[in-house]
Symmetry: C2
């Protein structure tokens, strides 16, 4: 009759935002790894490469030449997954419960963060990161006029399918509410109806009390490993001082404070395995679009960021979300508390800047 | 005013089994690929390797020596994610809507398919595949006595996190119903309440009429690319002649017929890019366990297999399910109909056996 220790004993945890569960098996960190090892990411890409279509002044595959941009730069994706003028499927599929399809319209853009290929977010100044945040907000305002959902996301590193080392993200805006935000909308709405308060504001308040999963804080923001994290070093970014439902609501001070948080978090990420830390990340907030005025969503949505990094043990060993995870349920080895502790204890100074 | 062509124009499709949507962007197949390329899988592993802990007669890390097995061989996983005697978390988390956890108990086993490391499923005889199916059913019967869910799954290939080339699968049995089967249970139940028939039997009947997504059939089974497939060459295996809710219900003829189907499907997979085709696959059927007798689940559950292969363009270029997919919604380029057509037209003879 030993007693339960979450850092020793398996259990399941519930994700109230997405409505699913994760299996936590901390005893399994002892397992040796004989599987696939990733190639370490090519160190230090050149600052400027005349063959890189994301660099200033370089022609893109469609023949257009990038301007000599000095800060951020946004252009339409040359191979968009979403077009704005595609014909719609016939209505006959609408009521067929087994073969149901629908129209999809949208726009895809690419956004460069900085003119230099070797300057990733943690290596930028706070002011440069602030310029990225300002541009995200401008794009959200612009695309959000027309589109119900604007997904800003960054795939970083070859291991995350990113084909270009230049610091950049993508923005895919759509006429439909995609699965993930649809579920988050549903669950935040239900919580609000039951409790009268926004779920994630209640959550962040309790995390600030508990302190065990906090990674970094700035005056307006907190980065934490959520109680229900599935990826080993998954992090959620949340407002800690007031309820914000959409990125467009950020004050100047909140933008500066978020810039500092992003810089600190990505610095810790790079310091963890002393590599340019790969991840997919993105921002979620209340839906946009012309239907906006009918929406109650602002009351229950809390704006937040999601970081999903694949690495588990080192710069070359990742967590595979495969068989059991695809067929049954996400499984993790190290606990969210252990992950938060490791990240929290890392220095705030980037390993590449140490000797400068 | 051009008219809608599903093989040309973007749209969304609904997955009635899981309750989510996929974005289909067929125009995007024209996109060039400059991203990460996988190492081709090591060709032809040796038939026997005295250092491989899955081979007959070889000691495993825990010191136990594998018997000199001649057909299938099952043993407990030496690094199980689920143990059967772990202490439970305290009850205080049960009613906390933000920090909810629960007990997880279970068992993990490993099952070798064949004594020879170089003999994968498509290279086995039909009788050898039948022995694998018989053993799956035995394990399901055994573990299903106690456990609510028995997940049989195979991770094949280094790209799928598989660390050992020896043909094998895993079986993780749990005290809880994991997310994926829980959603499938919910949606199949709803459909049954609304229509009075099992969803997937209605579905398979309509697919057999339409014929556009069928890959292989045998007298009792069909392998098809589901209308709502997310992975490029995803395939679902379904009973085509009668309603079967759990693998344990298979007659001898149905087992033989399934063995033939598995052999034909995996042969086509290998022939697609002339490589040992990687995937994660697994079987889903009505839940098991002591609660079984109370269950109505047999009425609405249809036993089926799911194949999720990562490759997209060649043996070395995979589909990355990253940024947009993780934050918003799965996206595919080639349509399920195009994928089915390519697989269907491949020869039934394995490329490695051609010159024999
Ligand atoms: O059990 P294995 O083969 O060591 O591990 C593999 O399959 C498991 C079940 O899908 C995953 O949780 C692991 O991430 C993966 O590496
Ligand atoms: O748009 P990219 O960078 O070419 O493509 C990458 O990100 C997309 C959005 O997450 C994914 O659909 C692709 O599979 C991935 O390779």
């Amino acid at each position: 009759d030993h007693s339960f220790d979450p850092n020793e004993h398996q259990h399941v945890r519930y994700n109230p935002l997405c409505g699913d569960w994760v299996l936590v098996s901390p005893h399994r960190t002892k397992r040796p790894w004989a599987g696939q090892v990733e190639r370490p990411s090519q160190q230090d890409p050149p600052r400027y490469d005349p063959a890189n279509p994301l660099c200033p002044g370089v022609p893109r595959p469609n023949g257009k030449i990038n301007p000599d941009y000095q800060s951020t730069y946004v252009f339409p994706n040359d191979f968009p997954a979403l077009l704005d003028d595609s014909p719609s499927p016939p209505d006959d599929g609408k009521d067929d419960s087994l073969f149901q399809w629908g129209a999809a319209r949208g726009e895809c853009r690419v956004m460069c963060f900085h003119p230099h290929t070797d300057i990733t977010l943690p290596l930028m100044t706070q002011a440069e990161v602030r310029a990225v945040i300002d541009r995200w907000i401008e794009e959200l305002e612009d695309l959000g006029k027309k589109h119900l959902w604007v997904q800003i996301f960054e795939n970083k590193g070859a291991i995350m399918g990113c084909s270009n080392p230049h610091p950049h993200c993508q923005i895919w805006a759509s006429s439909f509410l995609p699965n993930e935000p649809r579920m988050k909308d549903h669950n935040q709405r239900q919580y609000y109806l039951n409790h009268g308060t926004p779920m994630l504001m209640d959550y962040v308040a309790r995390e600030m009390e508990k302190q065990e999963r906090i990674v970094v804080t700035t005056d307006c923001w907190v980065a934490l490993v959520p109680f229900w994290a599935t990826w080993p070093f998954e992090v959620m970014v949340l407002p800690s001082h007031r309820h914000i439902s959409r990125m467009t609501q950020l004050s100047s001070q909140e933008r500066d404070s978020l810039a500092l948080l992003v810089k600190k978090l990505t610095t810790k990420y790079d310091n963890l395995f002393e590599c340019s830390f790969p991840y997919s990340m993105g921002w979620h907030g209340a839906p946009t679009g012309p239907r906006l005025k009918d929406f109650e969503a602002d009351k229950y949505w809390v704006f937040h960021g999601c970081y999903y990094p694949p690495l588990l043990r080192s710069a070359t060993v990742k967590k595979f979300m495969v068989g059991y995870e695809m067929l049954a349920q996400a499984q993790r080895d190290l606990t969210p508390e252990q992950a938060a502790c490791r990240l929290r204890e890392l220095p705030d100074e980037h390993y590449k800047l140490k000797n400068k």
